[in-house]
């Protein structure tokens, strides 16, 4: 029941806002819908806590330890982002960057996007998972080009083409998986249901599955933003409206990674070797290194943090690739804290950019002098994302690095160098933006400080104390992923 609400409310919201999205209270309606979704998700979570994993509607939907916390996270970040987008988009509208018509599109597509995210997470059908992810692309692509500037248009085009191609490859992978599955489960519906696949994964045909995994990895990897398939990511983040950058970094990447991991479970079961793990470790390391070196040359603050998203997704992928309970636990934790921190950073960045009227790092100076809230939020968020304790990102990086040092010492020098480079690049720019003489000025509307500090508070909490049931989920999920 809650499950239907979780999916239904955003869909309804999309329809409603498509109708009235250009009116005044659209933003509030958007917030309300997101809040309801979050409430429903919380209720769903409660039931799952109460009576274990959930498999309903002809096994079409499946909630287990792995996706339940992602669902909550997604709903939560969607909600806080809607809170942030209210003042942000209003200012944009008053500055005449978006017309009411586009606002309508924006709001309705925002709801549509969170619907697809939740669908992708909740479904038990690998095919539907694919459909939902493609849907997510379609929902967001027009938002990336919302400002209709040449740059935004180009970014959207690249986003669309690259993710389209990637997703097509993923579909081919899915078909191959189906091909392998139907020989065991027979043709028809069940052959794409993850729960069934999970039961028979040991008896899936290895060669098919391995080829399938390559297609899936490259396909979904494009959406995760793994190097060298990442090129759409910085453009899309930099050119779209900041709330969209926040949800792209905070949600889309997570969900895509989720899709890869779901399939990895099957592939591991079928192959019995750690081919999948090694591939993921390779991609992860490559992403971390390359993005680290990209960071130092960024001039646009949103691009900067987009690349840092690539880096952290790479880190998580690497951790999943290492496998083992500790590493997987760390990877899950990392997904959580990264999406929280990164979206918080994008909130702060958005307001900072509005204050200065530019996204160029060189123009943003001395934020603390003008608006301490935004300045400190940016500083703390940046330090958190750089893995400075006592924030949650440090907790996960701590686990990942120590495990790597123990299991794959050869990888640690690479990680060490990349982390150092990333730190120097990001922190150098961050310090210049936050401290020093100021260039920023006041804004007509108060910045939305609540979502930023809410996220940062949670991240801080996760660094110092992980609630037991959350830890329990992580453990179960880690057990399941192996």
């Amino acid at each position: 029941m809650e499950l239907l609400l979780v999916l239904g409310i955003p869909l309804l919201g999309a329809a409603l806002l498509a109708a009235v999205g250009h009116r005044a209270p659209a933003a509030e309606l958007n917030v309300l819908m997101s809040l309801l979704t979050f409430a429903a998700a919380a209720a769903l979570t409660a039931t799952v806590i109460a009576d274990g994993p959930l498999l309903t509607l002809h096994e079409l939907f499946f909630v287990d330890a792995f996706n339940v916390f992602l669902v909550t996270l997604t709903a939560f970040v969607a909600f806080t982002t809607s809170l942030f987008s209210r003042p942000y988009m209003r200012i944009e509208a008053e500055r005449g960057r978006v017309s009411p018509k586009r606002l309508r599109l924006y709001h309705s597509m925002y709801q549509m996007f969170s619907f697809t995210m939740l669908l992708a997470l909740l479904t038990n059908n690998v095919g539907i998972l694919w459909v939902a992810l493609e849907g997510a692309t379609l929902a967001t692509v027009l938002l990336v080009s919302l400002y209709r500037t040449p740059a935004s248009l180009e970014a959207a085009w690249k986003y669309f083409i690259l993710c389209g191609v990637g997703i097509a490859q993923a579909l081919f992978g899915t078909i191959l998986l189906y091909l392998a599955a139907e020989r065991v489960l027979g043709a028809g519906g069940t052959a794409l249901l993850w729960t069934h696949l999970d039961e028979v994964k040991a008896s899936l045909e290895p060669t098919v599955v391995s080829i399938a995994f390559v297609f899936l990895l490259v396909g979904f990897g494009t959406k995760v933003g793994l190097v060298p398939l990442h090129n759409w990511l910085p453009d899309a983040h930099a050119e779209g409206p900041t709330p969209i950058s926040a949800v792209l970094s905070g949600l889309l990447l997570n969900v895509a990674l989720y899709a890869i991991v779901r399939n990895k479970v099957l592939v591991d079961g079928a192959l019995g070797n750690d081919l999948a793990g090694n591939l993921m470790m390779g991609f992860g390391l490559l992403s971390v290194v390359v993005s680290a070196f990209f960071l130092s040359r960024q001039r646009d603050v949103k691009r900067l943090f987009a690349y840092s998203s690539i880096e952290h997704m790479g880190l998580a992928t690497f951790a999943f690739g290492m496998g083992g309970t500790v590493a997987t636990f760390a990877a899950l934790l990392h997904m959580t804290v990264h999406s929280l921190t990164k979206s918080a950073i994008f909130f702060a960045v958005g307001h900072a950019a509005q204050k200065v009227g530019s996204q160029v790092i060189a123009d943003i100076r001395g934020l603390v002098n003008v608006s301490p809230a935004v300045g400190w939020a940016l500083m703390i968020g940046g330090l958190a994302i750089l893995g400075i304790p006592p924030f949650g990102v440090f907790a996960s990086e701590f686990l990942i690095l120590t495990t790597a040092m123990h299991d794959h010492p050869w990888a640690t020098p690479i990680l060490l160098v990349s982390l150092a480079v990333a730190f120097s690049s990001i922190f150098g720019k961050l310090q210049a933006m936050v401290f020093g003489e100021s260039t920023a000025h006041r804004l007509p509307h108060a910045p939305a400080a609540l979502p930023v500090f809410a996220h940062l508070a949670i991240v801080l909490l996760l660094g110092l104390y992980v609630p037991p049931y959350l830890a329990q989920w992580y453990r179960q999920a880690a057990q399941m992923i192996g």
Partner: protein, 668 residues
């Protein structure tokens, strides 16, 4: 008194400090509250901490587990003699420095009292937590919190670009160090999500991995302590920070790195290899020498003190290296001697270096000058500052009967005992090492004479110095506190060493008390009375006695008529302050002798210049040989990588296409 009392006291102090910080934040602009109430309270807490540490040194280890931290990895706290010792150090230094800060920050312009209070007390609390941590995660959390809070303190006036640069350099190197410490713990953990020090003690490592651990620890903690070549942040960050903060960083924070190194090397690793000691010894001596040489050519008094901190840390590291060598050859008593020398020097340095930084703070407030070239003659305007500055100067110059001498004496004794080593190469090494050490301490005296003479003696080099005000009462109290510590540490070495025994027992399972006790409380006899002995009280009595006797004799025999007149100076008519040696002039001989070690830029005036002037800049080779190339290389690589993102969508499609095909090939 149960063995848990000290632990609870320490935890109480930590929480109290945090609470003070937050309280300050609550009333952020209430300078009166923060500086008149919170800082003094913090200083009292520091004194309590010192007492608790003292109790803990002799007490039995006590452990506690907090219900915080990662699942399956709660925060473990443990108070054993080693940590107690460093807590004692932290406590007494913090007590003095907080007392001083209460007055100092009140005089500083455009700072947010609450923010300063929060950062300052968080800094103290995190240093305390570092010494208390008993698992890798909590340790690193505390460690990085320490780095972070001190970073924010360093960039207190962040509007100056060079301050921001210093802060950036500092935090960058600190973070690098933290990562390599993290990796070092990563090697020692047993990969079951268990990171407690208990398990690491139990773990058995092969020689290779043990070496990896040691080297990682040396790098990681060296980044914080400022071992060559990771020391470059120190002379940048210390001048940038407010003086009390410099005092804390130099006096205490560097010691937490020493603590970590000792903890990992002697406590967590169960065996050492002799050549580690050689490495540590070499690095330590190199650090000491380069530190003191650069100190000699500085013209900024806080940079000078920063470099001298590098020197002292180098000496400590050398002592630790010696201890490792002895311990590796199972000569535990000698190891204890070297180790105690190291610890003794740590606490001494905490005493006099904090004192000196506070002195510079008062000078800066009185004159708003940091450049030695514009100071001078302050002994007449600010006698309190000057005389306590003299105490600090004599102590850091390693002159008897003050504390600096005791630790160097112990260390030299340890060196002279090395012929007992079975390894003849090491025996060959010893004279050279000793020579380097002695040279360093002699140069330290040179440096300190320069520092004190130029700042406090001679004629004031600027007019405004004539209006300089002496320190306020709070500051004087701090001076008295720290100065007294220096004297006491110098006069009661036997008692101090008696306290340190339990630490050496913990780390190298041997004590000196047997030897020390042999000739009573008066004499320090590290090995045996015949071999060597030193008695600070008698020494002081001798000097004071003979001085007083001479004075009285002269007084009694002859009249004490004194005439005041202009200085003679071989009859030169008018003396201007500009005729005295400047700081540069004083450093000139050292610059000339050790020229190859510096990178010197000189600008010579041409005979045709209307306004001829001369300047020379002295920089560190390491910066140009190590750091700039690395930075350039990173830049080059990133330029290379940047080509990937070329803007053409076809290219991106090709990446994807090729990746796909490559992987398909791969799995076939």
């Amino acid at each position: 008194m149960s063995s848990y009392a000290p632990l609870f006291a320490v935890i109480g102090v930590m929480l109290f400090w945090v609470v003070l910080g937050l309280a300050g934040l609550a009333r952020s602009h209430d300078a009166r509250l923060v500086f008149r109430v919170l800082f003094p309270l913090g200083s009292i807490a520091g004194a309590i901490l010192a007492a608790a540490g003292l109790a803990g040194i002799s007490g039995t280890p006590a452990a506690l587990v907090l219900p915080l931290g990662l699942p399956g990895l709660p925060f473990h706290l443990r108070l054993d003699p080693l940590s107690s010792f460093f807590l004692l150090l932290l406590g007494f230094a913090a007590a003095g420095i907080s007392m001083y800060s209460a007055a100092y920050f009140r005089k500083t312009e455009n700072i947010k009292p609450g923010l300063i209070g929060l950062q300052y007390h968080l800094f103290l609390a995190s240093m305390l937590a570092v010494c208390l941590a008993d698992d890798a995660y909590f340790f690193l959390v505390a460690w990085e919190t320490m780095a972070l809070s001190s970073y924010f303190l360093v960039i207190t006036d962040h509007k100056l670009p060079e301050v921001r640069r210093a802060g950036f350099l500092y935090l960058l190197i600190a973070h690098l160090g933290a990562i390599s410490i993290l990796l070092c713990f990563g090697v020692m953990q047993n990969n079951a999500g268990e990171y407690t020090f208990e398990l690491m003690r139990a773990a058995r490592l092969s020689d290779f991995w043990a070496t990896v651990v040691f080297l990682l620890a040396l790098t990681g903690f060296g980044a914080k302590a400022g071992f060559l070549p990771l020391h470059i942040w120190l002379p940048e960050a210390h001048p940038a920070a407010p003086s009390p903060v410099s005092a804390l960083m130099s006096g205490v924070m560097l010691k937490t790195a020493i603590y970590g190194l000792l903890r990992v090397t002697f406590d967590l690793l169960e065996q050492q290899i002799w050549w580690w000691g050689v490495v540590a010894l070499a690095i330590g001596l190199a650090t000491a020498l380069s530190g003191v040489m650069f100190a000699a050519v500085q013209t900024d008094m806080k940079r000078l003190l920063a470099y001298s901190s590098i020197e002292n840390i180098g000496i400590v590291l050398a002592a630790i290296g010696l201890a490792i060598i002895f311990h590796a050859y199972a000569m535990n008593v000698l190891a204890a001697l070297a180790l105690i020398a190291a610890l003794y020097h740590c606490i001494n340095h905490a005493g006099f270096k904090s004192l000196l930084f506070l002195v510079t703070g008062s000078v800066m407030h009185a004159t708003s000058e940091r450049n030695l070239g514009h100071l001078g003659g302050l002994i007449r305007r600010m006698p309190w500052v000057a005389w306590f500055g003299l105490v600090g100067t004599l102590a850091i110059a390693g002159l008897p009967p003050l504390n600096g001498f005791v630790s160097e004496w112990l260390l030299l004794q340890a060196f002279l005992l090395t012929p007992g080593l079975p390894n003849s190469y090491l025996n060959m090494l010893v004279p050279v090492a000793t020579a380097a050490l002695v040279l360093a301490s002699a140069l330290a005296a040179y440096v300190m004479v320069k520092f004190y003479g130029v700042v406090f003696l001679g004629q004031p080099r600027e007019e405004k110095l004539k209006q300089a005000q002496d320190a306020s009462n709070w500051e004087r109290a701090a001076f008295v506190w720290l100065g007294a510590t220096c004297v006491l540490l110098g006069l009661a070495p036997v008692a101090v060493i008696g306290q340190l025994d339990s630490v050496s027992l913990l780390l190298v399972d041997a004590t000196l008390s047997g030897n020390i006790a042999r000739s009573g409380w008066l004499f320090v006899t590290p090995a045996s009375p015949e071999r060597a002995s030193y008695s600070a009280p008698l020494f002081l009595a001798g000097i004071v006695g003979s001085v007083v006797a001479t004075f009285l004799l002269v007084r009694w025999l002859y009249h004490g008529r004194v005439r005041r007149a202009a200085a003679w100076d071989c009859g030169y008519p008018q003396q201007t302050p500009r005729m005295q040696d400047t700081a540069e002039g004083f450093g000139q001989p050292i610059k000339q002798i050790f020229e190859p070690f510096f990178r010197i830029e000189r600008h010579m005036p041409k005979p045709t210049d209307e306004r001829p002037y001369y300047w020379s800049k002295t920089e560190d080779h390491i910066w140009f040989w190590l750091y700039l190339p690395v930075a350039k290389a990173a830049e080059w690589v990133s330029k290379l990588v940047g080509v990937l993102h070329h803007g053409r969508i076809h290219l991106y499609l090709i990446y994807s296409f090729v990746t796909l095909l490559a992987l398909l090939f791969l799995i076939r």
